[in-house]
């Protein structure tokens, strides 16, 4: 079961523990906490502590040099009037809402083509998967910067058929698009999750459908899609959470400034500039919490909506 599946079953389970359960629960206390020691320490010092600290800092003015100064809701009020922040939200939402569905659609289509007993499957799978491993690197972002540049590979190819392409990454209208394309390029890992999911669908469903005279398209809509919906949901949740945090590609392609004219100024990039460029740590913390809330809301919407379209076979 996936992490998400596990979480949702945990929340579904209700009722108090029985006495035996309570007793059994405490059986290995000593040993367990020894084994958990590094993790507990990390949870306290690296995760929960800093989380609370950043919540506190979000209500302060702090530049690392002077002690934090309590300013109440100032940072949040500032965010309301910060046009660059609004723009960075727009850029990030566009990236997530276009990039994620597009990437998952490609992943699903290729997985479907690959699934049906095709020869050379391991070879194709490797080819499609490789970009997922490289896509997060600075090196590939550098490559992207070149191929979507004014005299880059894409325009060289276009020139062969007589088209003069724009400078994709220097034009504010297309810069974000080329970064979205980089995201789509890494469809290999969701594709592998889809492939694994497709294998779980019992063959007899298809056999029965064929006997009843269902067309391939009907089989897809009535069997494949519903049976695969938990996996689609899983991919959707994970990819949305991950995409909101994208940073490297936009940073490298834009040279660190989110340009041209803020068209690739991702929320995380703006947060980085505020926190580690201008050392406006209070504001950066407030932004981080806004990001957490946004991701939380998106995930919650996903979970609520899943009741209407995700089908569980059990």
């Amino acid at each position: 079961m996936s992490a998400i599946g596990e979480l949702s079953t945990m929340t579904r389970r209700k009722g108090p523990m029985t006495k035996e359960e309570k007793k059994a629960n405490g059986r290995d206390n000593k040993a367990a906490y020894v084994f958990l020691l590094p993790w507990l320490l990390g949870l306290a010092v690296i995760t929960v502590g800093p989380m609370l600290m950043s919540l506190y800092l979000s209500f302060t003015d702090y530049n690392l040099l002077q002690p934090p100064e309590w300013v109440g809701l100032d940072n949040f009020v500032r965010m309301f009037g910060d046009a660059r922040l609004h723009n960075s939200l727009r850029v990030t939402f566009t990236y997530v809402l276009v990039g994620v569905p597009l990437q998952l659609a490609v992943a699903l289509v290729i997985a479907l083509v690959l699934d049906k007993g095709l020869r050379g499957l391991p070879f194709y799978r490797s080819i499609f998967y490789l970009p997922s491993l490289l896509g997060g690197s600075v090196a590939v972002a550098i490559l992207w910067k070149q191929i979507f540049g004014t005299t880059g590979l894409v325009n060289q190819v276009l020139a062969m058929v007589g088209i003069e392409g724009p400078g994709w990454i220097s034009d504010p209208n297309t810069a974000l698009g080329s970064i979205i394309l980089l995201h789509v390029w890494t469809f290999g890992s969701p594709m592998i999750i889809f492939l694994a999911g497709l294998r779980q669908i019992p063959v007899m469903y298809y056999e029965a459908a064929k006997v009843d005279g269902a067309t391939t398209l009907q089989q897809f809509w009535r069997i494949t899609l519903p049976m695969l919906s938990p996996i689609i949901f899983f991919n959707l949740v994970l990819q949305i959470i991950g995409s909101f945090q994208s940073f490297t590609q936009a940073f490298i392609v834009s040279g660190g400034n989110g340009g041209p004219s803020d068209s690739t100024m991702f929320f995380t990039l703006y947060l980085y500039q505020k926190g580690f460029g201008q050392f406006d740590m209070g504001y950066a913390s407030a932004m981080a919490w806004l990001l957490l809330v946004i991701i939380g809301v998106f995930t919650a919407i996903n979970f609520i909506a899943s009741k209407y379209w995700v089908f569980y076979d059990d």
Binding site: A139, I147, A196
Partner: protein, 309 residues
């Protein structure tokens, strides 16, 4: 290897599952029907086309790195007239230190992170998968939640913390979190794996008088080698590629890891030295590519079971 098959998703992603009944069936059908054969050809055509478009930029980067600089901007093909190695020699020594220096820095961080993840995550996973303790449900739920927590929420205070202990421009801020099992993904992966190991083995060891440390070290760890391999490989690739952490904590060129060194290279060079920039980009991708070649099996199993990137 055999143990991984107790995880449903892992089995199904196995390359050998081509031998499953369903697969044999559909292949049999293909051989008989002519239209199915044409369909197969069309599928291959689509896949080769898509795969080709995807891989072409990478191949082109490799070829371009072996060409004189000016050709990069007017030669979209893959044909090489002669090998130009100067991009590699130029790029290698273009920054303050030879590029190997940054690769060693990266290797140190990667090694520390791998050791950290292997030790701390396997310990936590053993507790979650095998031990009964109070607060287990709560902690397990928290662990799953931290997988999805955006790291931006903790990065500012973490930075403050590490800079106050004087760890900026050391590798500690990049390694210590791994020693404390903060990559909860791997804890989850290992929990899943340990759950698939028959409990009888633990019981047998317990009857023989083994305590938990012994059972963990002598029974569970040897059996979970595939999960450890998956963790190692993913930690390698993620840490090797990690840019954000290095960007924040490593500002001294002496301490640069490969991603920040490459970034410094991009910033310092004018548009004329794309050749050497490409050359060093390829050098930086090479370890990831090699790990991919040799560790693919574990990678694919790892994603299929936990959905990690």
């Amino acid at each position: 290897m055999t143990k991984l098959q107790t995880l449903p998703a892992a089995t199904s992603s196995d390359a050998k599952s081509g031998k499953s009944p369903r697969r044999r069936e559909s292949r049999g059908n293909l051989a008989f029907s002519r239209s199915a054969r044409i369909k197969g050809l069309i599928k291959h055509a689509i896949l080769i086309l898509v795969g080709g478009v995807m891989i072409y930029p990478l191949l082109w980067m490799v070829v371009s790195s072996l060409r004189p600089n000016d050709l990069i901007f007017r030669e979209p093909g893959l044909w090489l007239e002669n090998l130009e190695m100067s991009n590699y020699t130029d790029g290698w020594s273009a920054l303050t230190h030879p590029f190997g220096h940054y690769m060693i820095n990266s290797a140190i961080v990667v090694l520390g992170s791998i050791v950290g993840n292997l030790v701390s995550c396997s310990m936590a996973a053993y507790a979650f998968a095998r031990l009964q303790f109070s607060g287990k449900k709560l902690f397990f739920g928290i662990m799953l939640l931290t997988i999805m927590l955006p790291f931006h929420v903790v990065i500012v205070p973490q930075y403050i913390l590490f800079s106050q202990i004087g760890w900026v421009n050391t590798f500690w801020p990049l390694i210590v979190p791994k020693l404390l099992a903060t990559d909860a993904f791997f804890v989850f992966l290992m929990v899943q794996f340990i759950r698939g190991i028959p409990k009888d083995l633990d019981e047998a060891a317990r009857i023989d008088g083994a305590g938990h440390p012994r059972i963990f070290l002598r029974v569970i760890l040897p059996l979970m080698v595939p999960a450890l391999a998956t963790t190692t490989i993913f930690t390698f690739i993620w840490t090797w590629n990690d840019f954000f952490g290095a960007l924040i904590y490593l500002t001294d060129p002496d301490m640069f890891t490969v991603p920040v060194a490459l970034r410094a290279f991009v910033d310092s060079q004018s548009a004329t030295s794309w050749g050497s920039l490409f050359a060093m980009s390829i050098v930086s991708l090479l370890p990831v590519f090699l790990v991919f070649l040799f560790g693919q099996r574990f990678l694919i199993k790892g994603i299929a079971t936990t959905g990690i990137k």
